[in-house]
Symmetry: C2
């Protein structure tokens, strides 16, 4: 592809050039001031971004939260100065010049990589490559679902993405584009910053993939443009808008465009250009202004662009106001991420029914029972599974399948794409208006980790339905048996890890997960059947306290047994054994360590008083348990753990519990040995 040169560009498109140059110099200057950052990408993609913001992106800088705005996602998050410059130039109130000057400094909002929780106009946190692209699939899906629900007068926007070679090499990109292609997400457009440079050097050092052919193979339309020629960019975008498929626009660009000695090399990627090169680049640009100085007329052109969407927003508001009060309230509630009032009573009713009926079911089945009553009450839920629907029990009868032919469907066949699913759910949650949950086996959190961490960092209250949560899955063997994954999830900040013991706790966990504002949840659920241990109905959500006394000691309290999930049954049986020998034994069910840790000391002491021996039982590694065994008034000499010390094995589950010594007898013996 021919690339326009700067002299021609300046001559033929002087206004465009100046506006784009403003982005470029802010990027150079901010990276230089921080002595850290990535100037090359913003300099390479400034023309594309300028055309997009100027002519196509539906936004109003005065209203970053306008629900019907287009979403712009910088998947190549290291180029953060591109979006910070755009937000500053178009007049987002928060993005002052001081913020730009304090790029990558403590207490500024201009973090090294764009963070949605710091910056209005940053829709999602990017940096880990490919995530933004994969989020964008969820954004576009949420738009489709909400448009089908509320009509295009109220919901009708696009999702635009800038992705680099790194994004496209990451495996997650494969899962994302496959999902988008299958779902015909025609309002999703990805600009590929095709600059042929990665950190190690030319892309050809590590990759010969024909990206265009690859996207076509995944069901996308593919266009190309000179990523520096505004007319060519504009034409490509116009074509993209007319497609009935998701569109890749391959933008041939030069990294560090215009830096005379560093452009088109890896040197422009991730380091300041240095004062000399910056001065030389200013010459090339015809930009005589001081660092961080944007001429008033350029700024005012940009601010006009920032106001461009105000009319559309006013019109949207009028249309929105015409909705019925009920519809308006529903839209607002869903957008705000507030659960419906009836959720609480729905959960309570189910809990009562379960405590009375006392079914013995796997908690994955229990989860399905909860979803069967929750999904009809919460039209915002969007369920799915990474091709384990029957195993994860994530589907309920009322949902319908989300598909190109049925945008009202609320169940997504994500395919064998755990990472893509998790990232799409992040996108949906951040879009707002929907509340996504999705399932796979707990062991395959390994595949979804990159996105699960970002749920936590971004405060996206996604629900991960992770079934087959221990050696209790049996014959599939150690490749499928999580032993370290509870510890992994618990080690992650801002993540609630629920491991419910029965259907009642499962219902309580779901209630917490579905009312969470900023915290993702992992539901670790059993494959195998479990008895109801909460046989006495309590209206209160006991799981909300993280841990509670499930069964009190009879007689003098000599032992406290702690357990989660499928091992609560074992702890209860161990209690029977100990009580039969006159050893007063309390059982503490601990479905959520994180929430227990948040309780005040008085409550924690009531649950875990000093004195009795403590034995914890969980079919997983010990890491994470020492806090409750040795800390919280515990003592090493009086504490023991029954669980896994290594990987599992392939065999029927009951034999594995015997083989690894996770039995009521072993728990009782351990307790007695510590007395």
């Amino acid at each position: 592809m021919h690339q326009v040169d700067i002299a021609t560009l300046r001559e033929t498109h002087p206004d465009h050039w100046t506006r784009a140059a403003a982005i470029r110099v802010l990027a150079m200057d901010a990276v230089q001031a921080a002595n850290s950052g990535h100037p090359g990408m913003p300099m390479g993609m400034a023309d594309v971004a300028t055309v997009l913001y100027e002519k196509h992106l539906k936004f109003d800088a005065a209203a970053p939260d306008w629900p019907d705005r287009d979403r712009f996602i910088l998947s190549a998050g290291h180029g953060s100065m591109l979006i910070y410059a755009l937000l500053h130039l178009t007049g987002y109130e928060q993005m002052t010049l001081d913020q730009i000057k304090n790029f990558r400094q403590l207490h500024s909002i201009t973090a090294g990589h764009p963070e949605n929780f710091l910056v209005n106009g940053v829709e999602t946190t990017t940096g880990p490559l490919g995530q933004g692209l994969a989020n964008s699939v969820g954004f576009a899906m949420a738009e489709e679902i909400l448009r089908a629900r509320f009509g295009k007068k109220v919901v009708d926007h696009r999702t635009w993405v800038i992705a680099g070679d790194g994004c496209l090499m990451e495996g997650i990109s494969h899962e994302a584009i496959g999902l988008a292609g299958k779902q015909k997400l025609s309002k999703l457009t990805v600009f590929w910053d095709d600059n042929d440079i990665s950190i190690d050097g030319r892309v050809s050092l590590s990759d010969v993939t024909d990206q265009k052919a690859r996207f076509e193979a995944a069901g996308w339309d593919v266009l190309s443009c000179d990523g520096h020629d505004p007319a060519d960019i504009d034409a490509a975008i116009e074509k993209a808008k007319a497609s009935d498929k998701p569109v890749l626009i391959a933008c041939k660009t030069t990294i560090g465009f215009g830096a005379p000695n560093k452009q088109d090399t890896a040197k422009a990627h991730g380091s300041p250009l240095g004062p000399d090169e910056i001065a030389a680049t200013r010459e090339v640009y015809g930009w005589p202004h001081a660092p961080f100085e944007i001429p008033a007329d350029v700024k005012s052109q940009w601010e006009e662009i920032g106001r461009r969407g105000a009319t559309a927003r006013a019109e949207w508001q009028s249309r929105f106001d015409e909705l019925s009060d009920n519809r308006k309230a529903l839209f607002a509630r869903m957008q705000a991420g507030e659960a419906p009032k009836k959720l609480a009573s729905t959960i309570r009713a189910l809990k009562k029914q379960i405590s009375e009926g006392q079914p013995k079911v796997a908690t994955r089945k229990a989860s399905e029972m909860v979803l069967e009553v929750v999904n009809p009450a919460m039209p915002e839920t969007v369920g799915g599974s990474a091709d384990l629907t029957g195993s994860n029990n994530t589907m309920t009868a009322d949902l319908g399948i989300f598909d190109a032919d049925n945008r009202k469907g609320r169940y997504v066949h994500y395919g064998i794409r755990e990472h893509g699913m998790a990232a799409a759910m992040n996108g949906m949650a951040l879009h707002g208006g929907v509340r996504p949950y999705g399932g796979t086996f707990l062991c395959f959190t390994d595949y979804a980790r990159g996105a699960m961490r970002l749920s936590a960092l971004m405060g996206a209250p996604v629900v991960y339905v992770m079934t087959h949560d221990s050696i209790g899955l049996g014959e599939d063997g150690p490749t499928h048996q999580p032993v370290e994954h509870l510890a992994i999830c618990r080690a992650t900040p801002n993540t609630w890890v629920f491991r419910p013991a029965d259907t009642v706790e499962t219902a309580e966990a779901w209630e917490l997960a579905l009312t969470s504002e900023k915290t993702p949840s992992v539901l670790a659920l059993s494959r195998q059947g479990l008895p109801t241990v909460r046989t006495e109905h309590k209206t209160k959500n006991l799981t909300a306290q993280g841990a509670y006394v499930l069964a009190e000691a009879e007689g003098k309290r000599q032992a406290i047994l702690m357990a989660t999930g499928s091992e609560v049954e074992i702890a209860m049986k161990a209690r029977d054994l100990l009580q039969a020998e006159g050893i007063g034994t309390r059982v503490v069910s601990m479905p959520c360590m994180e929430l227990f840790a948040q309780q005040d000391e008085k409550y924690r002491r009531r649950v875990l008083p000093a004195g009795p021996v403590r034995v914890a039982v969980e079919a997983a590694v010990r890491q994470g348990w020492d806090r409750w065994l040795l800390g919280e008034r515990g003592r090493e000499q009086k504490a023991g753990f029954i669980g896994m010390e290594g990987f599992g094995a392939s065999a029927p589950a009951p034999e594995l519990y015997e083989r690894f010594g996770i039995t009521a007898e072993a728990v009782a013996e351990k307790a007695k040995a510590l007395l």
Copy 2:
């Protein structure tokens, strides 16, 4: 693609049919007996596997460890009965009929998914989808490297893979095929079991990808065949062998081929067919024999196939015997995974030099200094990075770049493919003859987790060079700052997590990693410069003990400070502060918790005696530390932790350490408050 029907197949290829049917019935019968497993895939791919084993795969059932055997990798590991049947039928001694009958039972080697550490002839552990495919790239790379080194008289074999739709949907497949395409791994052939069925139903429920076009886009040759027609399969394989690129053979198959009511549906995938369907299938197959009964003539045909490679092996042995003694010894040493004798002295010399010179360098740089002396001494190392070569410091001058034009190169530009890199390294380690290490940022263990877990499970002594190991990386911010990743790696069984404090410890960690037989290592290395703390030369590898007394208390020992990596410097400064106030303070450096946990109680007690207050400092979450703070003779009232409680932030590193309170002053204050 037209598919041959069973009647025609039986008529036109009666012997082939019978041999393939033997696989099919063993799969049906074993899954039925276990009441668990996946019959559909072995039944679908039996014809392909039969042709491959009969005519193409270079192997000798009597010598599963023959170094120049072809490698067969069942990436669709749930179809484990396919390979167990093949191993049994061809006469692998270990794979008795009893093992087949005890499929998925405790103490049998026939686990639900094939496990390399249990079964001869199973080259790698599969089940987590896409991993085998991605391993195969490493197998093929190892073959190329060793062939370049030793010549094709000694190394000249192929890698064959069976992959399903699940493997190809997973993101890791994208990374794997991109790497293989770039590297022109022409001796790699992938059979795609194109049966159009996934667990949730037809593949079209979730995917419309044109897989053939996709592989072509990645630089592969693509062929197709009727996966049930032996002549067509054979012709495709012959063509594949002639290609100068990696080859995908799309094999159109029917899942559960021949099961009259379940074939071509998801019902054939993951459950026993049931006695009635099995009986009906036997009718279709014309197989009147009892469960697990293989007629003697069929077994003997298969055993002949199992002996087919004996001659080639004998010829190979003659050629091998002709090598010089030096070459033979080198080959044998590398194949056995034994480090050269001079490694120990090389490391010792470097340690001495460092203890004397006391440089202040980042441990990532220290790692490079180690590699600069190790790589020339260990020709079996193969280094690389997921496009962070300059940041991970993984390249040394002598390696040369591994490429289609330079198979002697020992450095791999893996591209932005953390997961693909990790899985390829697993394949290389399992192939034998090479010892792979590869780098990325510690935070992006998230992307590589699936393969890192398998390193541990499989006992593949891969070395993960994980730099930028804390908030100490500074400005890139929380998306790039690991806080939970040390805990994640430590939670994983059979994984050594090294976090060295200086160049000496880094050298010791490398020595352990490079001599490990069955345990992968994670080296967590700093971005920021660190002083030499091991200023007194010791020939002994102190890191091998996991933790040791770095600085003894002067006067009465009142406090023990524990730290790893970059925080050892902080602990040493805190010790100065405390000693200045007359508080005798020991500093324990703990570069590897796992190795410390393996020491005897006497040693552990010597390092961590009861009595003094304990403060641990690590710029990461506390999880994992309670064992050493509260356990091992510790007490809750006398223990404290200085580290991270949540995600980091974007700012220069020194400011972040201040901001999050990880300072010598804070450590000293904490210790004093506990006294």
